[in-house]
Symmetry: C2
Subunit: 308 residues, 2 copies
């Protein structure tokens, strides 16, 4: 039997990368031959977390089927967000906190999804259920994932379980939660030196709402004008991307992590419909989304209802 | 918010009915307004278990969407096995031990699937994770489910986790595992008063092996002669069924639950080929299958290999 690979989604974020490392560590403690890998480049926030707690970046893989025949998915389950070649390997486990869609197996498997803010919060339980101790550096990674996914407990996706897990993990990791958390978020949200092409590749996920082929991307910003000052150029870029990829909608969310609001730049044949789903009128490809910070809870369900 | 309904699959078996009752009990202890219901008539084995531990049969529902807007699924996830109207309600939790297919949500949910022999084995863990004590009568139901799904630990689908859970639950329930288990299986496997038409409707599943349109049915028996003594009549009935439904194969398994062997009555244009898949020659529409008790693990894979 070949080595089992464990990985999160494409365009990896901090939860996806650290959950792959964390779960690989847990499985290794339980005797399995498992390696954490990644599907794409890591962002500055993740880089900050890995360096802080002394971890190497996992190696990148291209097509999973050329590497192994058994995989574990963390932080995602939808086929189109997963590795190239995923249909040619056997998924033996999934640990996730998203909706379930475009997922099918021919055999029973371990599938653990919970409606919490972060995969690391579920992993924290699984460590306990298996009586495996969490080392300080792994706890630091798990804390980083919770801070990232819940925006320091400010996101509506954040549950009491995430808060409790975050506090426990900060203690094990030996860091000040607020101080470390804000420093990590800021490391990922400084967009001033990013090209627009960089921004597009940071955290873009594919969705199909009814017949509307879409991408919903999100970037965190300390200053949303780092992006909005370049809106015309961004709209051109998104239009071009839509055309080249046969998409009907590019919904690009810029989230202000200090004030917990967002602005979306919306492009494509379904752009007006997408704005209408939020009871908004598109204003030069832009809509304000006050109080919105969660793609999963505050954007995807609205687009699902409005466009399907 | 309306009451949450919890139910297992259509053509309910013991695991499906008892897991609905068991999980409803657990959720009630945790403060939720939950009711266990069923999709269809219960069989004699389930009736025996409910009476033994003092439970009423859950009420039957027709269309779930006329009753509630939130449901919990146990022991299944595939849409076609679930309630009528399932697409019009929100699935908020799933506890299952089958493959995942034909299942999709728009929001994150609690989805707990594990590759064990029985849903009750997973529920046993969830009680512990929530620090809720299992009462003796609920433990009896959970034990009944494990005995039923694993044929008293004899099925190849049975895992060490099922065995351990079964032993713990028998102790809590205050019953002798072997004695009670065999009595329950026998209650469900007394076929002497069943018409052949009854037998055909008990547990028949459709499969397509390559181009071979098939039904693989299974009944448990204390005495296989309750069926085999009526073989000529059964063969006529199966031939007629095949003709009327354009089938190439009817593979009817009669499993001896005392000796853990099976005999198959095999009818149709692909009958010889099906026997050959097991390295057997068809003997008056019959083949012996010593040691075979699991359709899922010991019959379907062999027919898939031999006929596809």
């Amino acid at each position: 039997m070949s080595k089992v690979l464990v990985f999160g989604h494409k365009n990896p974020d901090t939860d996806t990368i650290t959950s792959a490392i964390t779960y690989a560590y847990l499985k290794q403690q339980l005797g399995a031959d498992v390696e954490a890998v990644r599907l794409g480049e890591i962002n500055n926030e993740t880089k900050y977390a890995l360096e802080k707690f002394g971890f190497e970046t996992p190696r990148s893989i291209d097509n999973v089927a050329t590497e192994t025949d058994q995989v574990i998915l963390v932080d995602h389950n939808e086929r189109q967000q997963s590795a190239n070649g995923i249909e040619d390997v056997k998924v033996i486990e999934v640990i996730d906190h998203h909706r379930i869609a475009n997922f099918e197996t021919s055999d029973p498997l371990y599938f653990r999804a919970e409606p919490v803010g972060c995969t690391a919060t579920i992993l924290n339980k699984i460590f306990k259920e298996n009586n495996v101790e969490i080392p300080a550096n792994i706890a630091g990674l798990m804390l980083s994932a919770i801070v990232s996914d819940t925006l320091l407990f400010k996101s509506p996706t954040c549950t009491e379980q995430d808060v409790q897990a975050g506090k426990q993990l900060a203690e094990i990791a030996g860091v000040n939660l607020e101080e470390y958390g804000l420093a990590m978020l800021k490391a990922g949200a400084d967009l001033s030196d990013k090209s627009l092409e960089d921004l597009l590749s940071l955290d873009a996920k594919e969705f199909t709402f009814g017949n509307v082929k879409s991408i919903v991307a999100q970037v965190n910003a300390v200053d949303v004008n780092d992006v909005l000052s370049r809106k015309d150029e961004l709209v051109n870029l998104l239009n071009k991307y839509n055309e080249e990829n046969g998409l009907d909608l590019y919904f690009f969310i810029v989230t202000d992590i200090l004030n917990n609001d967002s602005v979306a730049v919306v492009v494509g044949s379904a752009a007006e419909g997408a704005a209408k789903a939020f009871d908004k009128v598109l204003n030069e490809n832009e809509i304000d989304l006050p109080g919105v910070v969660s793609r999963k809870k505050q954007v995807v369900p609205v687009l699902t209802d409005g466009l399907s």
